[in-house]
């Protein structure tokens, strides 16, 4: 019985067990009691979940009322006298608990079992009632053990699955005494549609749903508050640790995740102790030559021998010095990592710039959002998101394009699904019908590669129908006239046959986007990874500027960042053309500032980007041929396009130093291998997709002789003759604050205290700006600049010989090149082998069925993967994840680049397919 809307606004004074207390507006009896330290038994209630009132453990007596009330649903009214400790209330609570105890078999043993705890507190021994028949355990799932003989049917898991994560797997089936929790149509969990987020495990009060494996009842030694190491959502979590091992992971109430996690964050932590961890420095054995196609499964000891740290560091540094002396500084390059901390990224680029003396430093941002950033910088002067994901709550319309959010940013997707179910309009535009489409009001399955035409068509509709925000255009933008002239060639009716979406739908969607009080655009790699990726992104920015859908809460642009710290690594200057905080290396003023901060001369020439570096290795005639590389935590031998070429290039390097935690494919090309630390083995700050700077804290000691990356970097700098002193990440962070005005206001102490601070935060004490561009854009003239995007096609279109379109992507369970997730028992058990998605009719055409091996060939290479029927594909397209070494999708992809972002076209090339 929720109170009337009016009652929600006021504090309510009432009596609980004889004491006067106040309930905050909207609070229930249970919640206000808890806040005042009065414990009322409860099981089906959990903060964050909708109250359901089904277990009846929270019965209380209200003076003047005939029947008892449930404290978890009842709101107090002024002057009400409530007793949770009266004889009658207690007797009923105890009877309920006793009945619930008789529902479960045995005695609840784990210390976290809430039923056991309450029974203990209310001194309930063996129940007087007989136990009923119990269902057998379902141990089919690698991550989650189901033992419904411990279930009390509180439906917390159901609400977690359906109302929080909106995965809609758990149901409450049957009737009366036969009612129980089921997955889909009573499937085994492993074969059900479960995505393994484990929100139900976190919700279950009795361990009826629990992490699989023996860790269920183990008591942790310590709990460490940290972050998920995987994606840019930046979920906060708590690691339960014992004997230098992680027992369990729980979601914490961070601003980006509100306690939620996905399967990777919750169950994908065991990679840390995989037997293949690098634990000693390695140097290549004399006489083991580098080849373009090494056997990646070979015994590492045949290629390398173990060395002391001192020998390894001396060799590593001597190799760099030698090349630099003979061929000049531009013959060296470094790849940092978007998986490392801000401090690591900062020191890495500083090392390359002051130790190698060039700007040849880049990282995988080049492969994900370089084009988005190019467009954003050009048009609105800032490459970061304008609003956090959490703003979907404030938006009216949410447009998601080129993003398989449920697989790549699962927790962000859960908030989008929540918003859709709360009545917001969700528009999903993608060549593939992905899981988010089910929740969409409009789903536009357009032809791959036609984004620009489609989006221009929508904009032209706005102009024709006079739905542009003229006041915003006049006061906040420049270049409208040119855009308008350009768009005249794109009426919806003309682009409809190009993109495969009817003019009616295009017009309708354009109206919905423009007409709302707040529209957000989210995009992913489907936009950016094209030779016209920058043009794709320009269209989205044009759309926001045309309609003024930017600069307010719930209204803005959000390119969903992929890696957990790709935002932070870019901010820290792990980019060839800019110093930290995007200060251009070719601007004398910026250069002088950094020269004085770092006390070293700096190169004025922008460096080479990822794919350019690969090309510059192969190019024997180039004066600046790259001959030596330092690669920290990246795996270009899997992640770069046109791998046959990239691997050939890697094998030609005179000197390659790889710093990593596993023998990745790239390690096989190395001369020196430095064993580094995994995420939970070090402390550092990380910046998520929302621009939130958050703290990851060390929970484990690194194995063997492996060292923290920061230490290795400092050591490398000293071996290169630099006098570096950084005792703690905090010291690096202090220097970064001096180098980066937009983060200057964030102190390490505040990070430790608050766990998350959003930048820009220029002065200490500033709250941090979640929503940007309310008044001006950070461009020279403060305006947003329209940029017309011409419609162009992919670099390699299908033809008679290679008639299919290949789209690369990811699987929920695997991260990037799989270096970590394929070494996680749980994650790899769920997705153990390379699969390729095709439309069922295409499979029929190939006379192949699900599970059959298919050979996929492009002009560059070939792989064999197992067929998977996916009706969400369009006929003629195939989707192949790129995390599988045994079928590396990038053997097929093309290394054609977007001219502005220098991003390769991972999302489109021509292939041929046949049964293998």
């Amino acid at each position: 019985m929720p109170g009337s809307p009016k009652a929600k606004l006021e504090t309510v004074a009432y009596h609980l067990n004889g004491s006067a207390i106040n309930a905050r507006p909207g609070e229930t009896i249970l919640e206000s009691a808890a806040r005042h330290g009065v414990e009322i038994p409860h099981l089906c209630h959990k903060p964050g979940l909708r109250p359901d009132g089904n277990c009846r453990a929270c019965l209380v007596e209200i003076e003047g009322e005939r029947v008892l009330a449930i404290a978890c649903c009842r709101r107090p009214t002024p002057g009400m006298a409530v007793r949770s400790d009266s004889e009658r209330a207690r007797r009923s609570q105890r009877l309920v608990l006793e009945l619930l105890r008789s529902d479960v078999s045995g005695t609840p043993q784990d210390s976290a079992n809430e039923l056991g705890q309450w029974c203990q507190r209310l001194a309930i021994a063996k129940p007087r009632f007989p136990e009923g028949p119990q269902p057998p355990a379902d141990l089919s799932h690698p991550a989650i053990a189901v033992r419904l003989d411990a279930c009390i049917q509180c439906t917390r898991c159901l609400r977690a699955c359906r109302e929080i994560q909106v995965n809609d797997v758990i149901g409450y089936a049957h009737r009366g005494a036969a009612s129980r929790i089921v997955f889909d149509l009573d499937a085994l969990l492993r074969t059900s549609s479960c995505v393994g987020c484990g929100e139900c495990v976190q919700a279950c009060p009795t361990s009826a749903l629990a992490p699989a494996g023996a860790s269920r009842f183990a008591a942790p030694e310590k709990a460490v508050d940290s972050l998920c190491p995987y994606c840019g959502v930046g979920c906060q979590l708590r690691l339960q640790v014992k004997d230098n091992r992680i027992l369990r992971v729980e979601g914490r109430a961070g601003p980006a995740n509100q306690g939620r996690l996905c399967i990777k964050g919750r169950f994908g932590f065991d990679y840390v102790q995989h037997r293949e961890r690098l634990t000693r420095p390695l140097v290549r054995r004399d006489g083991v030559a580098k080849t373009p196609n090494p056997d990646f499964t070979a015994d590492l000891r045949r290629v390398f021998r173990e060395a002391t740290w001192e020998e390894a560091m001396q060799r590593a540094a001597a190799g760099f010095r030698d090349i630099s002396e003979r061929h000049g500084p531009h013959s060296l390059a470094g790849f940092g990592s978007a998986k490392g901390s801000n401090e690591e990224a900062y020191l890495f680029q500083k090392l390359i710039r002051t130790g190698f003396h060039s700007n040849n430093v880049d990282h995988c941002t080049r492969l994900c959002h370089a084009s988005s950033v190019a467009a954003l910088m050009q048009m609105i002067g800032s490459g970061a998101v304008s609003n956090p994901v959490a703003d979907v709550r404030k938006a009216e319309v949410i447009l998601v394009i080129g993003s398989n959010t449920t697989e790549n940013h699962p927790v962000a997707a859960s908030f989008m699904k929540n918003a859709a179910h709360a009545g917001k309009t969700l528009i999903v535009m993608d060549p593939r019908r992905t899981a988010l489409a089910r929740h969409a009001d409009y789903f536009l399955q357009f032809r791959p590669d036609t984004d620009v035409a489609m989006l221009n068509g929508m904009m032209q509709t706005l102009i024709e129908e006079d739905l542009t925000n003229d006041e915003f255009i006049a006061s906040r933008t420049t270049g409208f006239a040119a855009l308008k002239a350009h768009l005249a060639a794109f009426p919806a009716e003309r682009v409809a046959p190009i993109c495969g979406i009817s003019a009616r739908t295009l017009r309708q969607v354009a109206r919905v986007y423009a007409g709302s009080r707040g529209s957000m655009i989210f995009w992913g790699m489907g936009i950016s990874q094209h030779v016209h990726g920058t043009d794709n992104a320009r269209c989205l920015i044009n759309l926001a500027l045309l309609t003024g859908q930017i600069g307010r809460p719930g209204s803005g642009l959000h390119p969903l960042r992929g890696q957990n710290n790709v935002q932070g690594a870019s901010d820290a200057g792990l980019i060839p053309m800019v110093f930290p905080d995007y200060q251009r290396v070719d601007e004398p003023e910026a250069r002088r500032r950094f020269e004085s901060l770092w006390g070293a001369p700096l190169d004025a020439r922008p460096g080479l980007t990822v794919v350019e570096i690969m090309h510059a290795i192969g190019d024997a005639d180039a004066t600046d041929r790259i001959r030596g590389m330092y690669i920290m935590g990246e795996n270009p031998a899997m992640s770069d396009p046109n791998l046959p070429h990239a691997r050939h290039a890697l094998s030609r390097l005179d000197h390659l130093v790889v710093q990593d935690i596993f023998p990745t494919e790239t390690v096989f090309y190395a001369d020196v291998v430095l064993p580094a630390s995994a995420f939970p083995e070090k402390t550092g700050s990380f910046t998520n997709t929302d621009r939130r700077v958050q703290l990851g804290r060390q929970a484990l000691a690194p194995p063997g002789e492996a060292r923290a990356d920061l230490e290795i970097l400092v050591d490398m700098a000293r071996h290169l003759g630099l006098d570096w002193q950084y005792a703690h990440p905090r010291a690096v962070f202090e220097e970064m604050r001096r180098a980066m005005p937009s983060m200057a206001g964030i102190t390490w102490e505040r990070l430790e205290r608050e766990g998350s601070v959003t930048y820009p935060c220029r002065r200490e004490g500033d709250p941090g700006e979640e929503v940007l561009f309310g008044e001006v854009f950070p461009t020279a003239d403060g305006k947003g600049h329209f940029a017309a995007a011409p419609f162009s096609r992919a670099a390699e279109l299908p033809d008679a010989e290679f008639p299919w379109i290949l789209i690369t992507g990811r699987r929920l369970e695997h991260w990037h090149t799989g270096a970590m997730t394929r070494r996680s028992r749980v994650l790899d058990a769920i997705q153990p082998a390379p699969t390729v998605d095709l439309h069922p009719t295409d499979l029929d055409r190939l006379a192949a069925g699900t599970g059959d091996p298919l050979r996929i060939r492009s002009r560059r290479g070939e792989v064999v993967a197992y067929a998977r029927a996916d009706p969400g594909m369009q006929p003629g397209q195939v989707h192949l994840p790129f995390c599988y070494r045994e079928a590396a999708a990038n053997l097929l992809t093309i290394d054609a680049l977007d001219p502005d972002g220098k991003i390769p076209e991972f999302k489109f090339c021509a292939v041929r397919i046949e049964p293998a």
């Binding site: 359906r162 809609d168 797997v169 758990i170 149901g171 409450y172 089936a173 049957h174 009737r175 089921v182 889909d184 149509l185 009573d186 489409a437 089910r438 969409a440 009001d441 409009y442 789903f443 399955q445």
Partner: protein
């Protein structure tokens, strides 16, 4: 499911379900779920496949799991193929007091199947159901759309003998 509703069901079935949808406010389409399940079950020889339930979910914009919950709750929905004649014997309180156990026992013996089973010739399915609101004529059973009340084993025999 957006955009593909026209591909679900036959036009006749869609029209019938739409009549039910029209009885509820536009944003409460899912209120028609029971009627929709009955309609598609009837058109499918008396049972609901998972695909049919998924289609109902898509048509009414519900999560499939929510449709499964309804289908498993009510005894009128069948999740497996059933015989030509579905014999639904009530065993709820009134019928139980008036001897429904006896009727069930008789039917099980006569048909050679347990409750929930279907005869090998596919002619009969025997089912236990909750109160069908005919307590005044207990014990009772329902076959097809017909109620049979005040049953005795002999009456049951004569009813079954008359069925094709």
């Amino acid at each position: 499911m957006a955009g593909s509703k026209e591909q679900l069901f036959t036009p006749e079935i869609r029209a019938e379900i739409d009549q039910w949808i029209a009885k509820y406010p536009a944003e409460w389409k899912q209120s028609a779920v029971m009627a929709a399940l009955r309609i598609v079950q009837d058109a499918n020889g008396g049972w609901l496949s998972r695909e049919l339930m998924d289609d109902v979910a898509g048509y009414l914009e519900m999560a499939p799991i929510a449709v499964y919950e309804v289908a498993t709750f009510y005894s009128m929905y069948e999740l497996k193929p059933v015989g030509k004649h579905k014999i639904c014997v009530c065993t709820n309180v009134s019928c139980m007091i008036n001897g429904s156990d006896n009727i069930v026992g008789h039917l099980e013996k006569k048909l050679g199947v347990a409750l929930g089973g279907t005869t090998s010739d596919g002619k009969f399915t025997l089912k236990e159901v909750e109160c069908l609101g005919a307590c005044g004529g207990a014990p009772m059973m329902q076959i097809g759309k017909q109620y049979y009340e005040n049953l005795t084993p002999e009456i049951v025999d004569s009813i079954l003998d008359r069925l094709e």
